[in-house]
């Protein structure tokens, strides 16, 4: 099971955190600080796994961002690397060659995408196409609702002119 997902920038800034196991706010801060200390300082040629408090943290760097997932001892590390890549590819398709800034300003969208890939710390969907379709459908629901709202407020505005 994946206990949490972290996206940390090279400067140690947190870009996304998702916790599937309960951690208090204090613990979360500590975990992030501890792990970014370990992961950001590892050399580029080293393996992508860090043993940490009886768990394993699998991380992979994409440009300026480190994607980290914390898993149990008996989980398949190599597969988690593929899950990270899967997530990155979907982000990439959604944003169109994603960059850190996309994830900063549209962090909620990154979360929506992650929620279509993982639930309860387990993989949910392996088809990038299906994830993209589901996200697009929900985005368009939001758009429609917005348009409706603005057209109603236009009508009200015109009626009260």
């Amino acid at each position: 099971m994946i206990h949490f997902v972290l996206l940390i920038s090279r400067q140690g800034k947190v870009r996304l955190t998702k916790w599937y196991s309960p951690y208090t706010q204090k613990e979360r801060t500590k975990v992030i600080r501890e792990l970014s200390g370990v992961i950001l300082t590892r050399g580029p040629k080293l393996c992508n796994f860090v043993e940490w408090r009886g768990y394993k943290v699998v991380y992979k760097r994409y440009a300026s961002l480190y994607f980290c997932m914390c898993i149990d001892q008996e989980d398949n590390e190599l597969e988690v690397l593929e899950i990270i890549h899967h997530f990155v590819e979907i982000l990439d398709r959604y944003f169109g060659s994603v960059c850190e800034l996309d994830l900063i300003f549209n962090f909620h969208k990154a979360y929506y995408i992650l929620d279509e890939i993982l639930i309860a710390g387990e993989l949910q969907e392996t088809s990038k196409k299906i994830v993209a379709r589901l996200i697009a459908a929900q985005d368009s629901l939001v758009e429609t609702a917005k348009e409706e709202a603005s057209s109603i407020s236009n009508i009200i505005a015109q009626a009260t002119k």
């Binding site: 208090t24 706010q25 398949n76 300003f105 639930i119 309860a120 392996t126």
Partner: protein, 892 residues
Amino acid sequence: MADLIIDAFSSQTRLRDMIRAIRGCKTAAEERAVVRKECAVIRASISENDQDYRHRNLAKLMFIHMLGYPTHFGQMECLKSIASAGFPEKRIGYLGLMLLLDERQEVLMLVTNSLKQDLNHSNPYIVGLALCALGNICSAEMARDLAPEVERLFQSRDPNIRKKAALCSVRIIKKVPDLAENFMSPAATLLKEKHHGALIAGVQLCTDMCKVSLEALEYFRKKCTDGLVKALKERVNSPYTPEYDISGISDPFLHIRLLRLLRILGKGDADASDCMNDILAQVATKTETNKNAGTAILYECVETIMSIEDNSGLRVLAINILGRFLSNRDNNIRYVALNMLMRAIAVDAQAVQRHRITILECVKDSDASIRKRALELIFLLVNENNVKPLTKELIDYLQVSDQEFKGDLTEKICSIVEKFSMEKKWYIDKMLKVLSEAGNFVKDEIWHALIVAISNASDLQGYTVRSLYRALQTSSEQESLIQVAVWCIGEYGEMLVNNVGMLEKEDPLTVTESDAVDVLEAAIKRHTSDITSRALSLVALLKLSSRFPSCSKRISDIIIEHKGSFVLELQQRSIEFNSIIDKHQNIRSTLLERMPVLDEASYNSKRKSGSLPPTASAPTGASPKLPNGVVKSPAAPMADLLDLSSDDAPVPSSSGGDNLPDLLGGSLTSLPSLTGQAPSNGTDILMELLSIGTPAAQNDVSTSDLLSTNHNNTPSGTPLERLSPPSPFSPQVSTPTATTPVMDLLDGFSPTLSMSNKKSSTDPYFSGNNGPVYPSIIAFQSSSLKIEFSFSKQPENLQSTLINATFTNMSSNIYTDFIFQAAVPKFIQLHLDPASSNTLPASGNGSIGQSLRVTNSQHGQKHLAMRIRVAYKINNKDVLEQGQITNFPPGL
């Protein structure tokens, strides 16, 4: 009011602008200011119950939360947003719920109803949102409440709902394992899915159910094994499917999950294992491994092969795959190979042994994760046949390894060497190597054990001390090497100088007496030496002073030099030692005899059972109260060194007997230490001793008489013998807190009484644990209440006593609001710790504990006394009891 609202709205920034503003901050203070301002606006907007901006506020709060600021005030907003009708509100509401709350917050329960409604919503996306939220953060209560809803959704026509429901159930059964049986048949149905997402989720659910329920495991094993094997076969032979393709493999995630479930089903069941043999062999041979995805499948497959019931052909295949992994250039693959081999050892140690050389190479890898794994694996691989070459390799590597790895490596080498220490010379050689390479990383108990071993190997002592001397010439910065060397030179100095006990292949070594003293002097003067090394050096010098007459004057000078040491321990020791050299020539050589052989067996058993007193492992001076922290553990070996209280130590009665009364008489504080051992002998004697132990009386008393009365069970002999504890020698050696009686004898010479006061408190009679034993007393008893006191003292602080009070209710009513108070005379200080409870169950069915700390500033002169008052309520009626305690055991 209206103005205020407008004001609040006008300061509303867009999410994008807020993020920009935060990113623009140059300092943390600036960022805090921006966040504070935003939070204020959001709070204002929340309290206005402003719905137009709820969406934006929540988004902002999530961002602020991600930066680590508190956002609890936004939690209710999430709930409100979830409760609104529109999809956009619900979407952001659920996201906020998952980010801002976790399962432990009470607020979460409030969302149960909304979740229930949304799980039954007609819009599949809203159902999806609810399932996702439930799957990510539900608590056990919510799991129970909503499980039927989730179960129903397994029937949904939309596969995306089915997959979400399945994963949501994974969390539900983890929270409430009892619910697993409800999901058994729907989960089995999911295994026939064609939709990958739903199938993957179904496989995952089955896997987790097997972990929590044996019944489910049996069920799936019977019903689904064949189906799963078939599904895996289909996957392996499936043609190219672009939608699921990852580097040439169709949906490796599905492969891996199927393999994992098969592993659980096959484990411990020969039939099921048999059923999957073919497909496992196929996966193991056909999978492409030039990409990570393929390797991941193979890795999973190997693990399955190793876990299911025995099929030797498959296992050979699996171990060979791991061997291939191990020689891969990719660090990730090597890491997982080491990981797997570790588990494979239990199955087939021989096969793993074949890869020993490669694994050893991995210990030297530049990657810390790999090194750590490899070292653990090597540790498991060591046996009688390979221990020598492996240890050699590891020690060689110790010379070049990273500083941060040395600790781990040293620990492992030491435990390997100790484990295979049958051959003494090899053990000593290797330990000396480790000490010279990484002495600073060697734990105290390891080198203590080495000393015990050396003391037992009489034919190797000469060789050892010479080797140590040589080692010191080349590596003089390893603390524990110095300590062992100094101890050995002190004990076996003449063997060093005279080349006693030369081994066949040993080169002769020319060391003069003054060379040996040089080493000790260097150790004591080395500014980085810790206090243990210095103290050990002082003792060693003292020992050599009688054996190396030519250096006697020089040694005495060095000792005198330290009389002014700022370190109390050293100062005291040098003063004492100086007295021995100056005034007690006639007993000196006896006093400084070589240590008797240390009892190896009892030391080892003590170590293994972990019964070393806590002080031995505690860092030096850990307790701030220690007046003389170093006395505790580091002084231990030193104390042992001087110990001559062993039964078999030759003590000619003529030499020292005359001096003893004198020695003892000088010390009033050694008395409690002697008596502490024998409280059962009768407290009267104790009393007498204590009352005598006042400065006025000290020189007039014939202490030897007192002593003989004290030890009335020991046959008469020389006073020195009588001083020796009746207990066998070994416990003292193995309990490093013990100091020797000799120290106490010497106390009398120290000019300051207060110092010897502290010193004597480390007396062996307090043997190794917490100090002297005092009988517990019933401090107070009435028809309704009993108070018992038990006592303990910290050996280093005789004035203060820790009292554990136990209150027992003798009546049939429950006492509530129980309060215990106590008052003491002025010369005593009292500190009360909080009681364990303030409710005392009736009829002695439980008790309250409370600890008191008393410090008797006139310890030894006045007894403890105490007035007590106990207040409590029976059925809300106040009751008060009072009393005076005068029956404290003497000596407190």
